[in-house]
């Protein structure tokens, strides 16, 4: 037990702070980004990237119709090309989970939903947990929660830990992705610390961003998080998944992330079970690259839907 501002917390002992060498992380991320990938490997990589996308729509203006369109795209990204796999999941707000669940029935594409007062995380825990339970009941296979950055930045790490642990429990059979919102955490040291905290609390995946805050996912931030996952794996033998989200727009970006995952964590993580890309416009850019290889001519967005 610990006491913070007069509130009793669990007996969580936060991880020791470890400084991250920011210059080295950025240099390493930049170096991995310049890796040359030859055509056959690039095609494999692009197809794999499609299968890893959490095709996302998180707008106040989302409607059941738009979500159904998105689900159709997730299941069959490019009609006429059965060699292109379905995306990993469709990611929506809780009220649209039922619509997505029905549209995706039998397809193998998962339904992910953001919860816990997304994107701010500023809300009462009991209501956050209630939202999670209802969303899972409505059919969500995966919950993307946000951490309470206010508590984190004020040093109330036990509160953050307890909320994540409680959310894992509320998820029941659903997988939990924990969004750190790295754009608000200011330093790599804090990103590293928050990653370890989320993993200790039972996160199945750690995720960079909501997509609502700039900067969203970046290569260096992702590298810091991947290295925490690697350390955790060496220490405990347990795998944790990774999901960079927000700002990943081009096929080239997606390949850079795949190179980084493969170089940092290895083959075992090169699957939608362990790595996801939170994105929306990325899918069309990848489809355009895949079509370019088939046609031998640069493609146009006008031949693709929802772009």
């Amino acid at each position: 037990m610990s006491v913070h501002n007069g509130v009793v917390r669990s007996a969580y002992h936060p991880p020791a702070w470890k400084a991250v060498d920011a210059v080295a992380v950025e240099a390493r991320a930049a170096a991995l980004g310049t890796r040359s990938i030859k055509k056959a490997a690039k095609l494999q990589g692009l197809l794999l990237a499609v299968s890893m996308i959490d095709l996302t729509t998180l707008e106040g203006s989302d409607t059941p119709g738009k979500v159904r369109d998105l689900c159709a795209k997730a299941m069959r990204p490019l009609p006429g090309r059965s060699d292109i796999p379905s995306t990993g999941a469709v990611c929506v707000y809780p009220p649209l989970v039922a619509v997505a669940k029905e549209a995706l029935a039998g397809s193998g594409v998962k339904v992910a939903a953001v919860a816990t007062y997304f994107p701010s995380g500023q809300g009462d825990l009991a209501m956050k947990l209630e939202e999670v339970r209802r969303t899972v009941e409505a059919g969500a296979d995966e919950i993307d929660m946000v951490i309470d950055r206010r508590a984190f930045l004020m040093g109330d790490y036990a509160k953050v830990f307890d909320e994540i642990a409680a959310t894992v429990e509320a998820c029941g059979p659903a997988h939990l992705k924990v969004i750190l919102e790295t754009g608000e955490l200011q330093t790599y040291d804090k990103v590293r610390f928050a990653s370890q905290l989320a993993i200790d609390a039972g996160a199945h995946f750690i995720k960079t961003s909501t997509g609502k805050v700039q900067p969203a996912a970046t290569l260096p931030v992702t590298l810091v998080m991947l290295e925490v996952i690697r350390e955790h794996y060496f220490k405990t033998g347990k795998m944790v998944g990774m999901k960079p989200a927000g700002g990943i727009r081009t096929a080239k970006d997606a390949l850079k992330y795949l190179v980084m995952v493969n170089e940092t964590l290895g083959d075992a993580w090169m699957s939608p079970d362990w790595f996801r890309l939170g994105a929306s416009v990325l899918l069309n850019d990848i489809l355009m690259q895949l079509e370019k290889e088939r046609l031998g001519a640069y493609d146009s967005l006008r031949y693709h839907t929802l772009g």
């Binding site: 001519a297 640069y298 146009s300």
Partner: protein, 297 residues
């Protein structure tokens, strides 16, 4: 020992001619450069040889700029084209010097080419907000409808400049296309790089939004097939194509129903003639939209 100032010696500040894409001046991604020499074989400058990927990047930049350029008021487009002419006027001497030094023109010919280029920009600047009145119509139809046709920009246009008149030949094909509200990627021969990139510097300082005009220097036989088959280009205009190149262009363009406009190359003095500033150099890159509206409501 004397300092450079005391000896009146300075290091030569040599210019490397890069490309003009999305308002920036990047080197070609291929890293290829060509040493340009004047007629007596002396080194003039290093110029970029654009690759197919540079063309693709330029098309992406043009696509990004196209909608907002077409959406600006015709009056504003006119002001911006005129501003480009102003910028060119204030650089008249340096442009003339480049044509003399790097392109072997006589001072008189160079000056005439620069003047004609400036005048051409001004001429097309005037047309921006007059196109619709002249080319648009109210059409009589057999029914209780108003029926109106109005011209609209085609979209992203790739242009291939000819071998002669590096400045006036380029301005003469670019100005009418942006006047109509299109975004342009213009490819000139590598040997034209000095004056083309000087012209890019004019455009970069003339309120023209980034990406509306992108200028590449490269080999046409390398870039033309890629442009012809590219699915995100709406029209291609080219000057001085061989019969084989025309067949290749028309064949590639037909797969994506691009508009194709082909013209013959000319000398500077021929380009300077008034018949090369014409409303009918704007129309090949315009679409006509016709709307029907019920009468009496």
């Amino acid at each position: 020992m004397k300092t450079p100032a005391q000896t009146n010696m300075r290091l030569t500040v040599a210019k490397t001619y890069k490309l003009f894409i999305g308002g920036a001046f990047p080197r070609t991604e291929s890293g290829r450069s060509v040493a340009l020499r004047n007629r007596s074989g002396e080194f003039v400058a290093n110029a970029s040889r654009a690759s197919r990927k540079d063309l693709r990047e330029a098309v992406v930049a043009a696509r990004k700029a196209a909608e907002s350029w077409a959406g600006r008021t015709a009056y504003l487009r006119s002001q911006i084209l005129y501003r480009a002419a102003e910028m060119m006027e204030s650089r008249r001497e340096s442009l003339t010097a480049t044509l003399v030094k790097a392109h072997g023109k006589t001072a008189k010919a160079a000056e005439a080419e620069v003047s004609a280029s400036i005048d051409r920009l001004v001429w097309y600047a005037g047309w921006c907000d007059k196109l619709t009145q002249v080319l648009g119509n109210q059409n009589p139809v057999a029914g209780p409808f108003f029926n109106m046709s109005s011209p609209e920009a085609t979209g992203v246009v790739v242009l291939f400049a000819g071998e002669s008149s590096p400045l006036l030949g380029l301005v003469s094909i670019v100005a009418p296309v942006i006047c109509g509200g299109n975004a342009v990627v213009a490819c000139s021969p590598i040997a034209h790089a000095p004056i083309v990139i000087d012209f890019a510097e004019v455009l970069a300082t003339s309120d023209l939004p980034a990406g509306v005009v992108n200028l590449l220097t490269g080999n046409r036989d390398e870039l033309l097939p890629t442009a012809a088959s590219h699915r995100d280009i709406d029209a291609i205009g080219a000057v001085g194509l061989s019969m084989e190149e025309q067949v290749l262009l028309e064949g590639g363009a037909s797969a994506t129903i691009k508009r194709v406009w082909i013209d013959t190359d000319r000398t500077s003095s021929a380009w300077a003639l008034a018949d090369h500033q014409s409303l009918y150099r704007i129309t090949p890159f315009l679409e006509v939209k016709t709307s029907w509206h019920p009468m009496g409501l």
